[in-house]
């Protein structure tokens, strides 16, 4: 086996799998990014709900975060996938529309987003709790309305504490996105498997995929490091 075999396997043109792998990588990044944003949105909402919780809302949110964090991701993804498609079709039938085949991309984002949301809730809740109360009270004393207080005080003050947790969540969503392959959706892991079984170069293709995931992780780490440096500017360093 020489090097030219491998380069031809990764060629961008038709017999090579280069462009397919590239497309899979982009899909993986899109799914991860979408799920990450959805997760932060859900997490922010649930964290605020838990913190200002009414008696009815708080137990529901607790149930959500506990259940999602206790059940294996793979099982959640499969269950949510079926529950999502079933309930949407039930809704459509009730409104007397035809059943639809659900877009795999949207489901992937939604399903991973719901899983991420449970973890994000706890990360964000902890970060908000870590803000010194005096800072929020100062905002109140200035007569800031709640939304402005959130925008100008809570959000910037919680970011340094929340970032390491969010960076972990991003690392786990890029890897969890591979689980979508189990549902048959064509992201990087699935395309790698297709490429491997078509060409029989299993070892080569899985190593390539592992390398791509590793590059994604390492690049993300450096991005999060510089983000954290930016949000911590002006803070006194300990140690």
């Amino acid at each position: 086996m020489d090097i030219s075999t491998y380069t031809s396997l990764l060629a961008l043109e038709a017999p090579g799998w280069g462009s397919a792998l590239l497309k899979g990588t982009i899909t993986t990044l899109e799914i991860s990014f979408g799920a990450f944003l959805a997760g932060i949105g859900i997490g922010l909402g649930c964290a605020l709900g838990k913190l200002n919780g009414s008696r009815t809302l708080a137990p529901v949110l607790n149930l959500y975060t506990t259940v999602v964090r206790a059940i294996p991701e793979l099982i959640l993804i499969v269950a949510l996938y079926y529950a999502g498609t079933d309930s949407l079709n039930a809704l459509l039938n009730a409104l007397s529309f035809e059943s639809v085949e659900i877009n795999g991309f949207a489901t992937a984002i939604l399903v991973l987003g719901i899983v991420q949301g449970a973890y994000a809730t706890e990360v964000i809740r902890g970060a908000i709790l870590a803000i010194p109360t005096g800072q929020i009270e100062a905002g109140k004393a200035f007569g800031m309305p709640a939304t402005m207080r959130f925008r100008r005080i809570i959000l910037p003050a919680m970011m340094p504490t929340a970032l390491p947790g969010l960076s972990n969540l991003w690392a786990s969503v890029t890897k969890d996105s591979a689980l979508i392959a189990v549902l048959g959706y064509q992201e990087l892991a699935m395309i790698t498997k297709l490429a491997a079984s078509n060409t029989k170069f299993y070892f080569f293709f899985f190593c390539t995929a592992a390398l791509i995931y590793l590059v994604i992780t390492l690049c993300s780490n450096s991005v999060f490091d510089s983000l954290e440096r930016r949000f911590r500017r002006g803070q006194v360093r300990l140690g």
Partner: protein
């Protein structure tokens, strides 16, 4: 909700649970030993070995477990039969099975995550305790065995409990390489009976109960350790 299938499938479910627990126990116990070695190498090993160990952790933590599992099962698995003599060796019945590859992949992966935890625990053992050991004239190896490592494991214990639960939650991936673990039994039940949610709920309850048990056991171990604050 229709749970009548349980009467028919319970032997299979039991077998699946057994496989799941076997995967967990194998990967956690073997992985822990590997993690101790990796962590010690990073903290006090010669530079090339320390580099190798931290590179190993970065690599295994930076790629999805699913890809690692498939790399072993399909990649190495497709290369194994090419080694002459291996097909007729006594190891072949084991090497052929998905279970073997799943156990290896989970062990290697768990070791990488655990090594990082142990490394930071080793570094956070108070200097005075290690110096006390040295003052008693303990050799390097005795010091590690009697003071440094046990102390680090105590520090890391709460994190280790979390990692074991995470490892449990990773085991259903074995179903993608033909292991008949609990999740694949649920998958089979779904195919046979066309019931989607009931098998999944049953399996989810099992996982939740098992993680609660793991947390409880670790809590009990933690409480037995004498701590002076």
């Amino acid at each position: 909700m229709d749970f009548s299938w349980i009467t028919h499938y319970w032997p299979l479910l039991l077998k699946g649970a057994e496989q799941t627990i076997a995967l967990l126990v194998i990967s956690v116990s073997l992985g822990f030993f590997l993690a101790v070695v990796l962590a010690l190498l990073q903290v006090m090993g010669p530079k090339p070995l320390a580099k190798f160990s931290s590179g190993y952790c970065t690599l295994l933590r930076g790629t999805p477990l699913l890809v690692q599992l498939w790399l072993l099962y399909y990649g190495i698995g497709s290369l194994l039969p090419m080694i002459p003599g291996i097909r007729h060796s006594f190891m072949w019945p084991v090497l052929r099975e998905g279970f073997f590859f799943a156990a290896v992949a989970f062990t290697l992966n768990y070791a990488a995550y655990e090594a990082v935890v142990l490394r930071s625990a080793l570094l956070s053992v108070p200097k005075g305790e290690i110096e006390a050991g040295k003052a008693f004239g303990m050799s390097r190896w005795t010091l590690i065995r009697r003071v440094w490592l046990p102390r680090a494991i105590r520090i890391a214990l709460p994190t280790i409990a979390g990692e074991v639960v995470l490892q449990l939650k990773a085991t259903p991936l074995a179903f993608t390489v033909t292991v008949m673990d609990l999740y694949s039994v649920a998958y089979k039940i779904r195919q046979d009976t066309l019931l989607v949610y009931e098998p999944l709920i049953l399996v989810a309850v099992f996982y939740v109960a098992l993680s609660a048990l793991i947390v409880k056991v670790f809590g009990r171990i933690e409480r037995q350790l004498p701590v002076r604050r």
